[in-house]
Amino acid sequence: MELIWHGTKQAAQLLFRGDPEVLRITLLSLQVSGAATLLSLLVGIPLGTVLALTRFPGRSIAISLVNTGMGLPPVVVGLFVSIFLWRSGPLGFLGLLYTPTAIVIAQLVIAAPIVTGLTLAAVQQLNPRLRVQLVGLGASQPQVVWLLLKEARLPLLAAVMAGFGGVISEIGASMMVGGNIYRQTRVLTTATVLETSRGNFDMAIALSLLLMLLTFAVNWTLTWVQQRGRTP
Protein backbone atom coordinates (compact mmCIF):
# COMPACT_ATOMS: atom_id res chain seq x y z
CA MET A 1 0.00 0.00 0.00
CA GLU A 2 2.86 2.31 1.00
CA LEU A 3 4.37 1.86 -2.49
CA ILE A 4 1.15 2.85 -4.21
CA TRP A 5 0.58 5.86 -1.95
CA HIS A 6 4.13 7.11 -2.36
CA GLY A 7 4.04 6.55 -6.13
CA THR A 8 0.72 8.35 -6.51
CA LYS A 9 1.98 11.33 -4.50
CA GLN A 10 5.07 11.65 -6.64
CA ALA A 11 3.03 11.17 -9.79
CA ALA A 12 0.76 14.04 -8.77
CA GLN A 13 3.84 16.24 -8.29
CA LEU A 14 5.15 15.24 -11.73
CA LEU A 15 1.83 16.09 -13.30
CA PHE A 16 1.36 19.41 -11.57
CA ARG A 17 4.94 20.45 -12.26
CA GLY A 18 4.23 19.88 -15.96
CA ASP A 19 7.21 17.55 -16.45
CA PRO A 20 8.33 18.15 -20.09
CA GLU A 21 9.01 14.45 -20.74
CA VAL A 22 5.56 13.44 -19.50
CA LEU A 23 4.03 16.18 -21.64
CA ARG A 24 5.92 15.08 -24.74
CA ILE A 25 4.91 11.44 -24.29
CA THR A 26 1.28 12.41 -23.75
CA LEU A 27 1.16 14.66 -26.81
CA LEU A 28 2.78 12.03 -29.01
CA SER A 29 0.28 9.41 -27.81
CA LEU A 30 -2.58 11.74 -28.59
CA GLN A 31 -1.18 12.63 -32.02
CA VAL A 32 -0.37 9.06 -33.04
CA SER A 33 -3.61 7.48 -31.82
CA GLY A 34 -5.69 10.45 -32.98
CA ALA A 35 -4.22 10.22 -36.48
CA ALA A 36 -4.66 6.43 -36.56
CA THR A 37 -8.29 6.79 -35.44
CA LEU A 38 -9.04 9.49 -38.03
CA LEU A 39 -7.48 7.41 -40.80
CA SER A 40 -9.38 4.35 -39.62
CA LEU A 41 -12.62 6.36 -39.94
CA LEU A 42 -11.73 7.27 -43.52
CA VAL A 43 -11.26 3.58 -44.29
CA GLY A 44 -13.78 1.97 -41.96
CA ILE A 45 -16.90 4.11 -42.43
CA PRO A 46 -17.05 3.76 -46.24
CA LEU A 47 -16.12 0.08 -46.05
CA GLY A 48 -18.66 -0.70 -43.33
CA THR A 49 -21.35 1.24 -45.21
CA VAL A 50 -20.67 -0.64 -48.44
CA LEU A 51 -20.79 -3.96 -46.59
CA ALA A 52 -24.06 -2.99 -44.94
CA LEU A 53 -25.85 -1.64 -47.99
CA THR A 54 -24.71 -3.78 -50.90
CA ARG A 55 -24.94 -7.42 -51.86
CA PHE A 56 -22.08 -9.03 -53.75
CA PRO A 57 -20.52 -12.48 -53.98
CA GLY A 58 -18.11 -13.04 -51.11
CA ARG A 59 -19.83 -10.48 -48.90
CA SER A 60 -20.26 -12.86 -45.97
CA ILE A 61 -16.59 -13.86 -46.17
CA ALA A 62 -15.66 -10.17 -46.16
CA ILE A 63 -17.84 -9.60 -43.09
CA SER A 64 -16.29 -12.58 -41.32
CA LEU A 65 -12.83 -11.21 -42.07
CA VAL A 66 -13.79 -7.81 -40.66
CA ASN A 67 -15.22 -9.42 -37.54
CA THR A 68 -12.06 -11.46 -37.10
CA GLY A 69 -10.02 -8.29 -37.64
CA MET A 70 -11.87 -6.61 -34.76
CA GLY A 71 -10.07 -8.95 -32.38
CA LEU A 72 -6.67 -8.81 -34.09
CA PRO A 73 -3.91 -9.13 -31.42
CA PRO A 74 -1.73 -5.96 -31.56
CA VAL A 75 1.40 -8.12 -31.29
CA VAL A 76 0.50 -9.91 -34.53
CA VAL A 77 -0.14 -6.56 -36.21
CA GLY A 78 3.18 -5.31 -34.83
CA LEU A 79 4.95 -8.34 -36.25
CA PHE A 80 3.55 -7.99 -39.77
CA VAL A 81 3.95 -4.22 -39.95
CA SER A 82 7.56 -4.68 -38.75
CA ILE A 83 8.19 -7.23 -41.50
CA PHE A 84 6.75 -4.93 -44.14
CA LEU A 85 8.71 -1.91 -42.93
CA TRP A 86 11.93 -3.83 -42.18
CA ARG A 87 14.89 -2.52 -44.14
CA SER A 88 14.86 -5.59 -46.39
CA GLY A 89 11.04 -5.80 -46.36
CA PRO A 90 8.67 -4.80 -49.19
CA LEU A 91 8.27 -1.24 -47.83
CA GLY A 92 11.70 -1.01 -46.26
CA PHE A 93 12.81 1.68 -48.72
CA LEU A 94 10.41 4.12 -47.03
CA GLY A 95 12.55 4.05 -43.91
CA LEU A 96 9.54 4.26 -41.63
CA LEU A 97 10.36 1.61 -39.03
CA TYR A 98 10.85 3.05 -35.52
CA THR A 99 9.12 6.32 -36.40
CA PRO A 100 5.77 7.66 -35.15
CA THR A 101 4.41 7.05 -38.70
CA ALA A 102 5.08 3.33 -38.25
CA ILE A 103 3.01 3.38 -35.05
CA VAL A 104 0.21 5.21 -36.88
CA ILE A 105 0.25 2.52 -39.60
CA ALA A 106 0.12 -0.31 -37.06
CA GLN A 107 -2.62 1.37 -35.07
CA LEU A 108 -4.56 2.01 -38.27
CA VAL A 109 -4.47 -1.73 -39.00
CA ILE A 110 -5.81 -2.37 -35.49
CA ALA A 111 -8.54 0.31 -35.54
CA ALA A 112 -9.82 0.01 -39.13
CA PRO A 113 -11.56 -3.39 -38.66
CA ILE A 114 -13.10 -2.15 -35.39
CA VAL A 115 -14.53 0.94 -37.07
CA THR A 116 -15.59 -1.07 -40.15
CA GLY A 117 -17.35 -3.75 -38.09
CA LEU A 118 -19.14 -1.26 -35.86
CA THR A 119 -20.15 0.90 -38.85
CA LEU A 120 -21.58 -2.20 -40.51
CA ALA A 121 -23.56 -2.97 -37.36
CA ALA A 122 -24.64 0.67 -36.95
CA VAL A 123 -26.03 0.91 -40.49
CA GLN A 124 -27.60 -2.54 -40.33
CA GLN A 125 -29.51 -1.72 -37.15
CA LEU A 126 -31.45 0.97 -39.05
CA ASN A 127 -34.87 0.02 -40.35
CA PRO A 128 -34.16 -1.52 -43.79
CA ARG A 129 -37.30 0.15 -45.14
CA LEU A 130 -35.89 3.59 -44.34
CA ARG A 131 -33.66 3.35 -47.40
CA VAL A 132 -36.63 2.70 -49.71
CA GLN A 133 -38.51 5.55 -48.04
CA LEU A 134 -35.64 7.98 -48.68
CA VAL A 135 -35.43 6.92 -52.32
CA GLY A 136 -39.21 7.31 -52.48
CA LEU A 137 -38.84 10.91 -51.32
CA GLY A 138 -36.41 11.65 -54.13
CA ALA A 139 -33.03 11.15 -52.45
CA SER A 140 -30.07 10.42 -54.74
CA GLN A 141 -27.74 7.54 -53.79
CA PRO A 142 -25.17 9.83 -52.07
CA GLN A 143 -28.01 11.58 -50.22
CA VAL A 144 -29.38 8.21 -49.07
CA VAL A 145 -25.96 7.16 -47.72
CA TRP A 146 -25.41 10.51 -46.01
CA LEU A 147 -28.87 10.44 -44.36
CA LEU A 148 -28.45 6.84 -43.23
CA LEU A 149 -25.04 7.60 -41.68
CA LYS A 150 -26.50 10.69 -40.01
CA GLU A 151 -29.34 8.56 -38.67
CA ALA A 152 -26.79 6.03 -37.35
CA ARG A 153 -24.60 8.72 -35.79
CA LEU A 154 -24.98 7.45 -32.22
CA PRO A 155 -23.65 3.95 -32.83
CA LEU A 156 -21.11 5.46 -35.24
CA LEU A 157 -19.71 7.59 -32.43
CA ALA A 158 -19.47 4.40 -30.41
CA ALA A 159 -17.35 3.05 -33.28
CA VAL A 160 -15.06 6.09 -33.02
CA MET A 161 -14.73 5.57 -29.26
CA ALA A 162 -14.01 1.87 -29.66
CA GLY A 163 -11.43 2.58 -32.37
CA PHE A 164 -9.64 5.21 -30.31
CA GLY A 165 -9.88 3.12 -27.13
CA GLY A 166 -8.39 0.18 -28.97
CA VAL A 167 -5.31 2.03 -30.17
CA ILE A 168 -4.52 4.41 -27.31
CA SER A 169 -4.31 1.44 -24.94
CA GLU A 170 -2.44 -1.05 -27.13
CA ILE A 171 1.21 -1.66 -26.46
CA GLY A 172 2.49 -4.61 -28.48
CA ALA A 173 2.39 -2.97 -31.90
CA SER A 174 3.70 0.41 -30.69
CA MET A 175 6.60 -1.28 -28.98
CA MET A 176 7.50 -3.43 -31.99
CA VAL A 177 7.21 -0.88 -34.81
CA GLY A 178 8.05 2.22 -32.77
CA GLY A 179 10.82 0.82 -30.66
CA ASN A 180 10.00 2.99 -27.62
CA ILE A 181 12.81 5.39 -28.52
CA TYR A 182 13.42 8.18 -26.02
CA ARG A 183 12.05 11.52 -27.29
CA GLN A 184 11.03 9.95 -30.59
CA THR A 185 8.57 7.09 -30.40
CA ARG A 186 7.84 6.76 -26.72
CA VAL A 187 4.11 6.77 -26.06
CA LEU A 188 2.12 6.45 -22.82
CA THR A 189 1.79 2.67 -22.90
CA THR A 190 5.36 1.85 -23.90
CA ALA A 191 6.72 4.39 -21.44
CA THR A 192 4.62 2.89 -18.63
CA VAL A 193 6.07 -0.56 -19.34
CA LEU A 194 9.59 0.81 -19.35
CA GLU A 195 9.23 2.81 -16.13
CA THR A 196 7.61 -0.15 -14.36
CA SER A 197 10.43 -2.48 -15.40
CA ARG A 198 12.90 0.08 -14.02
CA GLY A 199 11.02 0.28 -10.74
CA ASN A 200 10.11 3.97 -11.32
CA PHE A 201 6.62 3.52 -10.00
CA ASP A 202 5.98 7.26 -9.56
CA MET A 203 6.58 7.89 -13.26
CA ALA A 204 4.65 4.74 -14.25
CA ILE A 205 1.67 5.75 -12.11
CA ALA A 206 1.74 9.30 -13.51
CA LEU A 207 1.79 7.96 -17.06
CA SER A 208 -1.01 5.47 -16.45
CA LEU A 209 -3.10 8.15 -14.74
CA LEU A 210 -2.62 10.35 -17.79
CA LEU A 211 -3.54 7.46 -20.07
CA MET A 212 -6.77 6.92 -18.17
CA LEU A 213 -7.49 10.65 -18.03
CA LEU A 214 -6.92 11.01 -21.76
CA THR A 215 -9.13 8.06 -22.60
CA PHE A 216 -11.81 9.38 -20.29
CA ALA A 217 -11.64 12.91 -21.71
CA VAL A 218 -11.93 11.72 -25.31
CA ASN A 219 -14.76 9.31 -24.54
CA TRP A 220 -16.57 11.84 -22.38
CA THR A 221 -16.45 14.38 -25.22
CA LEU A 222 -17.74 11.85 -27.73
CA THR A 223 -20.45 10.67 -25.34
CA TRP A 224 -21.50 14.27 -24.81
CA VAL A 225 -21.76 14.77 -28.58
CA GLN A 226 -23.60 11.47 -28.91
CA GLN A 227 -26.14 12.06 -26.17
CA ARG A 228 -26.73 15.75 -26.90
CA GLY A 229 -30.41 16.50 -27.33
CA ARG A 230 -31.48 13.00 -26.36
CA THR A 231 -34.02 12.48 -23.66
CA PRO A 232 -34.00 9.13 -21.87
Binding site: N127, R129, L130, V132, V135, G136, L137, G138, E151, T231
Partner: protein, 363 residues
Protein backbone atom coordinates in the same frame (compact mmCIF):
# COMPACT_ATOMS: atom_id res chain seq x y z
CA UNK B 1 -57.87 14.29 -66.75
CA UNK B 2 -55.40 14.03 -69.61
CA UNK B 3 -54.42 10.46 -70.41
CA UNK B 4 -52.57 7.93 -68.33
CA UNK B 5 -49.79 9.30 -66.15
CA UNK B 6 -48.47 5.87 -65.20
CA UNK B 7 -48.75 2.52 -66.84
CA UNK B 8 -47.47 -1.03 -66.81
CA UNK B 9 -46.95 -3.15 -69.90
CA UNK B 10 -46.51 -6.93 -69.78
CA UNK B 11 -44.86 -6.69 -66.39
CA UNK B 12 -43.69 -9.68 -64.40
CA UNK B 13 -41.82 -9.78 -61.10
CA UNK B 14 -40.16 -12.93 -59.83
CA UNK B 15 -38.21 -13.42 -56.62
CA UNK B 16 -35.80 -16.38 -56.75
CA UNK B 17 -37.69 -17.78 -59.72
CA UNK B 18 -41.09 -17.54 -58.00
CA UNK B 19 -43.55 -15.23 -59.72
CA UNK B 20 -45.10 -12.70 -57.35
CA UNK B 21 -46.69 -10.34 -59.85
CA UNK B 22 -47.97 -10.41 -63.42
CA UNK B 23 -49.75 -7.43 -64.94
CA UNK B 24 -50.41 -7.48 -68.67
CA UNK B 25 -51.60 -3.91 -68.82
CA UNK B 26 -52.47 -1.15 -66.35
CA UNK B 27 -53.14 2.52 -67.04
CA UNK B 28 -53.53 5.07 -64.28
CA UNK B 29 -55.28 8.22 -65.37
CA UNK B 30 -54.08 11.59 -64.17
CA UNK B 31 -55.95 13.02 -61.21
CA UNK B 32 -57.46 9.69 -60.18
CA UNK B 33 -57.13 7.98 -56.81
CA UNK B 34 -56.70 4.29 -57.50
CA UNK B 35 -57.23 2.08 -54.47
CA UNK B 36 -55.48 -1.28 -54.83
CA UNK B 37 -57.10 -3.85 -52.57
CA UNK B 38 -56.35 -7.47 -51.98
CA UNK B 39 -55.40 -9.91 -49.25
CA UNK B 40 -51.95 -9.93 -47.63
CA UNK B 41 -49.29 -11.27 -49.97
CA UNK B 42 -51.32 -10.46 -53.10
CA UNK B 43 -48.48 -8.39 -54.56
CA UNK B 44 -50.01 -4.97 -53.83
CA UNK B 45 -46.86 -3.48 -52.31
CA UNK B 46 -44.73 -4.88 -55.13
CA UNK B 47 -47.10 -3.18 -57.60
CA UNK B 48 -46.73 0.09 -55.70
CA UNK B 49 -42.93 -0.15 -55.65
CA UNK B 50 -42.93 -0.81 -59.41
CA UNK B 51 -45.11 2.23 -60.07
CA UNK B 52 -43.01 4.34 -57.70
CA UNK B 53 -39.85 3.28 -59.58
CA UNK B 54 -38.52 1.80 -56.37
CA UNK B 55 -38.23 -1.70 -57.79
CA UNK B 56 -37.37 -3.05 -61.22
CA UNK B 57 -39.71 -5.46 -62.99
CA UNK B 58 -38.12 -8.77 -63.99
CA UNK B 59 -39.84 -8.34 -67.36
CA UNK B 60 -41.93 -5.66 -69.01
CA UNK B 61 -42.03 -1.89 -68.97
CA UNK B 62 -43.16 0.90 -66.70
CA UNK B 63 -44.53 3.92 -68.58
CA UNK B 64 -44.57 7.50 -67.32
CA UNK B 65 -46.83 9.78 -69.37
CA UNK B 66 -46.82 7.21 -72.14
CA UNK B 67 -43.04 6.88 -72.38
CA UNK B 68 -40.99 3.98 -70.98
CA UNK B 69 -38.99 5.13 -67.98
CA UNK B 70 -35.18 5.23 -68.40
CA UNK B 71 -32.94 2.45 -67.12
CA UNK B 72 -32.32 1.93 -63.41
CA UNK B 73 -29.76 4.48 -62.23
CA UNK B 74 -31.25 7.28 -64.30
CA UNK B 75 -34.59 7.38 -62.54
CA UNK B 76 -33.92 10.19 -60.05
CA UNK B 77 -35.63 12.95 -62.09
CA UNK B 78 -38.73 10.73 -62.36
CA UNK B 79 -38.69 9.71 -58.72
CA UNK B 80 -38.55 13.39 -57.81
CA UNK B 81 -41.94 13.86 -59.46
CA UNK B 82 -43.44 11.30 -57.04
CA UNK B 83 -43.64 10.80 -53.27
CA UNK B 84 -44.23 7.71 -51.15
CA UNK B 85 -45.77 7.08 -47.76
CA UNK B 86 -45.51 3.66 -46.15
CA UNK B 87 -47.23 1.81 -43.33
CA UNK B 88 -44.44 2.83 -40.95
CA UNK B 89 -43.89 6.60 -40.79
CA UNK B 90 -40.09 6.08 -41.19
CA UNK B 91 -39.21 9.51 -39.86
CA UNK B 92 -35.64 10.66 -39.28
CA UNK B 93 -34.36 11.62 -35.86
CA UNK B 94 -34.99 15.37 -35.61
CA UNK B 95 -37.89 17.78 -35.40
CA UNK B 96 -41.21 17.49 -37.19
CA UNK B 97 -40.36 20.55 -39.29
CA UNK B 98 -37.02 19.08 -40.36
CA UNK B 99 -38.76 15.90 -41.43
CA UNK B 100 -41.52 17.64 -43.35
CA UNK B 101 -38.94 19.71 -45.24
CA UNK B 102 -36.71 16.70 -46.02
CA UNK B 103 -37.85 16.08 -49.61
CA UNK B 104 -37.63 19.78 -50.43
CA UNK B 105 -34.08 19.95 -49.05
CA UNK B 106 -33.14 16.86 -51.09
CA UNK B 107 -34.35 18.77 -54.17
CA UNK B 108 -32.37 21.88 -53.13
CA UNK B 109 -35.60 23.91 -53.13
CA UNK B 110 -35.47 27.63 -52.52
CA UNK B 111 -35.41 27.97 -48.68
CA UNK B 112 -38.08 30.68 -48.50
CA UNK B 113 -40.43 28.77 -50.78
CA UNK B 114 -39.65 25.52 -48.93
CA UNK B 115 -40.43 27.11 -45.59
CA UNK B 116 -43.74 28.46 -46.89
CA UNK B 117 -44.75 25.04 -48.23
CA UNK B 118 -43.69 23.28 -45.02
CA UNK B 119 -45.79 25.65 -42.89
CA UNK B 120 -48.72 25.16 -45.24
CA UNK B 121 -48.31 21.38 -45.34
CA UNK B 122 -48.12 21.12 -41.55
CA UNK B 123 -51.22 23.28 -41.20
CA UNK B 124 -53.14 21.16 -43.73
CA UNK B 125 -52.44 18.02 -41.75
CA UNK B 126 -53.02 19.67 -38.39
CA UNK B 127 -49.46 19.28 -37.10
CA UNK B 128 -48.42 22.95 -37.12
CA UNK B 129 -48.28 22.94 -33.32
CA UNK B 130 -45.82 20.02 -33.39
CA UNK B 131 -43.27 21.79 -35.65
CA UNK B 132 -40.48 21.88 -33.02
CA UNK B 133 -41.27 18.51 -31.46
CA UNK B 134 -38.75 15.73 -31.90
CA UNK B 135 -40.14 12.86 -33.94
CA UNK B 136 -39.23 10.29 -31.26
CA UNK B 137 -41.86 11.77 -28.97
CA UNK B 138 -44.78 11.58 -31.44
CA UNK B 139 -47.72 9.19 -31.24
CA UNK B 140 -48.34 6.77 -34.12
CA UNK B 141 -51.07 8.97 -35.60
CA UNK B 142 -49.01 12.15 -35.33
CA UNK B 143 -46.00 10.43 -36.91
CA UNK B 144 -48.10 9.25 -39.83
CA UNK B 145 -49.42 12.78 -40.32
CA UNK B 146 -45.81 13.99 -40.48
CA UNK B 147 -45.03 11.30 -43.04
CA UNK B 148 -48.02 12.38 -45.16
CA UNK B 149 -47.13 16.06 -44.85
CA UNK B 150 -43.53 15.23 -45.87
CA UNK B 151 -44.87 13.71 -49.11
CA UNK B 152 -47.58 16.30 -49.81
CA UNK B 153 -45.32 19.37 -49.51
CA UNK B 154 -43.45 18.05 -52.55
CA UNK B 155 -46.60 18.68 -54.60
CA UNK B 156 -45.92 15.38 -56.40
CA UNK B 157 -47.43 14.37 -59.71
CA UNK B 158 -48.01 10.91 -58.23
CA UNK B 159 -48.56 10.06 -54.57
CA UNK B 160 -47.95 6.46 -53.54
CA UNK B 161 -49.52 5.27 -50.31
CA UNK B 162 -48.74 1.79 -49.00
CA UNK B 163 -51.18 0.86 -46.21
CA UNK B 164 -50.64 4.22 -44.49
CA UNK B 165 -53.37 3.61 -41.91
CA UNK B 166 -52.79 -0.08 -41.19
CA UNK B 167 -50.92 0.48 -37.94
CA UNK B 168 -53.31 3.08 -36.50
CA UNK B 169 -56.16 2.62 -34.04
CA UNK B 170 -59.67 3.08 -35.52
CA UNK B 171 -60.43 6.65 -34.28
CA UNK B 172 -56.98 7.91 -35.37
CA UNK B 173 -57.37 6.15 -38.70
CA UNK B 174 -60.78 7.64 -39.37
CA UNK B 175 -59.56 11.17 -38.58
CA UNK B 176 -56.55 10.86 -40.86
CA UNK B 177 -58.55 9.16 -43.61
CA UNK B 178 -61.05 12.00 -43.65
CA UNK B 179 -58.29 14.66 -43.72
CA UNK B 180 -56.49 12.86 -46.54
CA UNK B 181 -59.73 12.59 -48.50
CA UNK B 182 -60.18 16.36 -48.21
CA UNK B 183 -56.58 17.01 -49.35
CA UNK B 184 -56.84 14.63 -52.29
CA UNK B 185 -60.15 15.98 -53.53
CA UNK B 186 -58.75 19.53 -53.30
CA UNK B 187 -55.37 18.89 -54.94
CA UNK B 188 -56.41 16.12 -57.39
CA UNK B 189 -52.96 14.52 -57.06
CA UNK B 190 -52.87 11.19 -58.88
CA UNK B 191 -52.77 8.72 -56.00
CA UNK B 192 -52.17 5.02 -55.78
CA UNK B 193 -53.38 3.77 -52.46
CA UNK B 194 -52.68 0.21 -51.38
CA UNK B 195 -54.82 -1.26 -48.64
CA UNK B 196 -56.28 -4.55 -47.49
CA UNK B 197 -59.22 -2.68 -45.98
CA UNK B 198 -62.31 -2.52 -48.20
CA UNK B 199 -63.82 0.40 -46.30
CA UNK B 200 -60.67 2.52 -46.80
CA UNK B 201 -60.74 1.71 -50.52
CA UNK B 202 -64.39 2.74 -50.72
CA UNK B 203 -63.73 5.94 -48.79
CA UNK B 204 -60.76 7.11 -50.84
CA UNK B 205 -60.77 5.43 -54.24
CA UNK B 206 -62.18 6.92 -57.45
CA UNK B 207 -61.28 3.53 -58.87
CA UNK B 208 -60.58 0.20 -57.22
CA UNK B 209 -58.22 -2.48 -58.47
CA UNK B 210 -58.60 -5.91 -56.89
CA UNK B 211 -55.36 -7.81 -56.71
CA UNK B 212 -55.17 -11.48 -55.79
CA UNK B 213 -52.29 -13.91 -56.28
CA UNK B 214 -50.10 -11.35 -58.04
CA UNK B 215 -52.69 -10.44 -60.67
CA UNK B 216 -55.11 -7.57 -61.05
CA UNK B 217 -58.48 -9.27 -61.44
CA UNK B 218 -60.72 -6.23 -61.76
CA UNK B 219 -60.33 -2.46 -62.12
CA UNK B 220 -63.44 -0.33 -62.02
CA UNK B 221 -65.32 2.31 -60.07
CA UNK B 222 -65.85 1.13 -56.48
CA UNK B 223 -69.62 0.70 -56.85
CA UNK B 224 -69.20 -1.75 -59.72
CA UNK B 225 -66.35 -3.67 -58.13
CA UNK B 226 -68.36 -4.16 -54.96
CA UNK B 227 -71.72 -4.79 -56.66
CA UNK B 228 -70.55 -6.75 -59.69
CA UNK B 229 -67.35 -8.67 -58.98
CA UNK B 230 -66.04 -10.44 -62.08
CA UNK B 231 -64.96 -13.67 -60.40
CA UNK B 232 -65.52 -15.77 -57.34
CA UNK B 233 -62.17 -14.68 -55.86
CA UNK B 234 -63.02 -11.00 -56.27
CA UNK B 235 -66.52 -11.59 -54.93
CA UNK B 236 -65.15 -13.28 -51.80
CA UNK B 237 -62.66 -10.46 -51.23
CA UNK B 238 -65.22 -7.68 -51.64
CA UNK B 239 -67.48 -9.22 -49.02
CA UNK B 240 -69.84 -11.50 -50.88
CA UNK B 241 -70.23 -14.37 -48.45
CA UNK B 242 -72.76 -16.53 -50.23
CA UNK B 243 -71.62 -17.89 -53.58
CA UNK B 244 -73.85 -20.64 -54.97
CA UNK B 245 -73.01 -22.63 -58.11
CA UNK B 246 -75.97 -23.33 -60.38
CA UNK B 247 -77.10 -23.64 -63.95
CA UNK B 248 -79.70 -21.70 -65.93
CA UNK B 249 -82.79 -23.79 -66.75
CA UNK B 250 -85.12 -21.32 -68.44
CA UNK B 251 -84.85 -17.78 -69.61
CA UNK B 252 -88.04 -15.77 -69.59
CA UNK B 253 -88.89 -12.13 -70.02
CA UNK B 254 -86.05 -10.46 -68.10
CA UNK B 255 -86.12 -13.23 -65.53
CA UNK B 256 -84.03 -16.38 -65.57
CA UNK B 257 -84.65 -19.54 -63.62
CA UNK B 258 -81.51 -20.94 -62.05
CA UNK B 259 -81.26 -24.28 -60.32
CA UNK B 260 -79.08 -24.24 -57.23
CA UNK B 261 -78.59 -27.24 -54.93
CA UNK B 262 -82.06 -28.56 -55.75
CA UNK B 263 -83.73 -25.15 -55.35
CA UNK B 264 -85.18 -23.13 -58.17
CA UNK B 265 -84.34 -19.43 -58.03
CA UNK B 266 -85.64 -16.48 -60.05
CA UNK B 267 -82.86 -14.13 -61.03
CA UNK B 268 -83.29 -10.82 -62.83
CA UNK B 269 -80.30 -11.10 -65.15
CA UNK B 270 -79.98 -11.65 -68.90
CA UNK B 271 -78.63 -15.19 -69.03
CA UNK B 272 -78.56 -18.05 -71.52
CA UNK B 273 -80.34 -21.33 -70.86
CA UNK B 274 -77.93 -24.11 -70.00
CA UNK B 275 -75.02 -21.93 -68.90
CA UNK B 276 -73.29 -22.49 -65.60
CA UNK B 277 -73.29 -19.57 -63.22
CA UNK B 278 -72.37 -18.47 -59.70
CA UNK B 279 -75.10 -16.72 -57.73
CA UNK B 280 -73.52 -14.13 -55.40
CA UNK B 281 -75.50 -12.79 -52.45
CA UNK B 282 -74.41 -10.17 -49.94
CA UNK B 283 -75.52 -10.86 -46.35
CA UNK B 284 -77.49 -7.62 -46.21
CA UNK B 285 -79.62 -8.68 -49.25
CA UNK B 286 -81.04 -11.68 -47.39
CA UNK B 287 -84.07 -11.69 -45.11
CA UNK B 288 -84.68 -14.42 -42.54
CA UNK B 289 -87.86 -15.49 -40.82
CA UNK B 290 -88.70 -18.55 -38.78
CA UNK B 291 -90.17 -21.54 -40.59
CA UNK B 292 -93.96 -21.74 -40.24
CA UNK B 293 -94.40 -18.00 -39.75
CA UNK B 294 -96.31 -16.36 -42.56
CA UNK B 295 -94.06 -13.57 -43.87
CA UNK B 296 -95.32 -10.11 -44.66
CA UNK B 297 -96.05 -9.69 -48.35
CA UNK B 298 -92.94 -8.55 -50.19
CA UNK B 299 -91.28 -8.60 -53.58
CA UNK B 300 -88.83 -11.27 -52.45
CA UNK B 301 -89.54 -14.01 -54.96
CA UNK B 302 -86.94 -16.49 -53.76
CA UNK B 303 -87.46 -18.62 -50.66
CA UNK B 304 -85.17 -21.37 -49.44
CA UNK B 305 -85.71 -23.50 -46.37
CA UNK B 306 -82.79 -24.23 -44.10
CA UNK B 307 -81.44 -24.56 -40.59
CA UNK B 308 -79.32 -22.04 -38.66
CA UNK B 309 -75.85 -23.54 -38.21
CA UNK B 310 -74.33 -20.74 -36.14
CA UNK B 311 -74.35 -16.99 -35.57
CA UNK B 312 -71.50 -14.60 -34.92
CA UNK B 313 -71.91 -11.15 -33.36
CA UNK B 314 -70.35 -8.41 -35.54
CA UNK B 315 -71.09 -5.06 -33.92
CA UNK B 316 -74.83 -4.37 -33.86
CA UNK B 317 -75.62 -7.29 -36.17
CA UNK B 318 -75.31 -11.06 -36.23
CA UNK B 319 -73.77 -12.89 -39.15
CA UNK B 320 -75.95 -15.96 -39.41
CA UNK B 321 -74.93 -19.05 -41.39
CA UNK B 322 -77.83 -21.16 -42.65
CA UNK B 323 -77.58 -24.61 -44.21
CA UNK B 324 -79.90 -24.71 -47.26
CA UNK B 325 -78.09 -27.61 -48.87
CA UNK B 326 -75.33 -25.06 -49.41
CA UNK B 327 -74.25 -22.52 -46.80
CA UNK B 328 -75.95 -19.11 -47.00
CA UNK B 329 -74.83 -16.15 -44.86
CA UNK B 330 -77.31 -13.49 -43.76
CA UNK B 331 -76.95 -10.34 -41.67
CA UNK B 332 -79.60 -9.87 -39.00
CA UNK B 333 -79.84 -7.11 -36.41
CA UNK B 334 -79.63 -8.26 -32.81
CA UNK B 335 -83.10 -6.87 -32.31
CA UNK B 336 -84.60 -8.92 -35.19
CA UNK B 337 -82.74 -12.01 -34.00
CA UNK B 338 -84.44 -11.73 -30.62
CA UNK B 339 -87.87 -10.65 -31.92
CA UNK B 340 -87.99 -13.56 -34.37
CA UNK B 341 -86.89 -15.94 -31.63
CA UNK B 342 -84.05 -17.30 -33.76
CA UNK B 343 -81.47 -19.70 -32.37
CA UNK B 344 -78.81 -22.08 -33.62
CA UNK B 345 -80.54 -25.19 -34.99
CA UNK B 346 -83.79 -23.29 -35.73
CA UNK B 347 -85.65 -24.02 -38.98
CA UNK B 348 -85.80 -20.81 -41.05
CA UNK B 349 -86.79 -19.47 -44.44
CA UNK B 350 -84.20 -17.49 -46.37
CA UNK B 351 -85.66 -14.99 -48.80
CA UNK B 352 -84.27 -12.50 -51.29
CA UNK B 353 -85.41 -10.52 -54.31
CA UNK B 354 -84.81 -11.64 -57.90
CA UNK B 355 -82.74 -8.46 -58.34
CA UNK B 356 -80.55 -9.17 -55.30
CA UNK B 357 -78.06 -11.69 -56.70
CA UNK B 358 -75.06 -10.74 -58.77
CA UNK B 359 -74.45 -13.46 -61.35
CA UNK B 360 -71.00 -14.53 -62.51
CA UNK B 361 -70.84 -16.68 -65.64
CA UNK B 362 -68.57 -19.70 -65.26
CA UNK B 363 -66.34 -20.85 -68.06
Amino acid sequence: MSGPILGLEKVRVTYDGIQVLEVTSLDIQEGVTLAVIGPNGAGKSTLLRLLGLLERPTEGRVLFRGQPVPPWGKLLPFRRRMASVFQEPLLLDGTVEENVSLGLRLRHADPAEASRRVQEGMATLGIGHLARRRTRTLSGGEAQRVSLARALVLDPEVLLLDEPFAALDPPTREGLLSDLKTVLSKTRITTIFVTHDRDEALALGDQVAVMIGGRILQVDVPERVFASPVSEQVARFVGVETILPGYVRFVGDGLSTVEVAGWTLDVAAPLTAGERVLICLRPEEITLFPSGVLPAPSSARNRLHGKVIHHLPAGPIYRVTIDCGLPVVAAVTRQSWEQLGLADGAEVVVSFKATAPHVIRRA
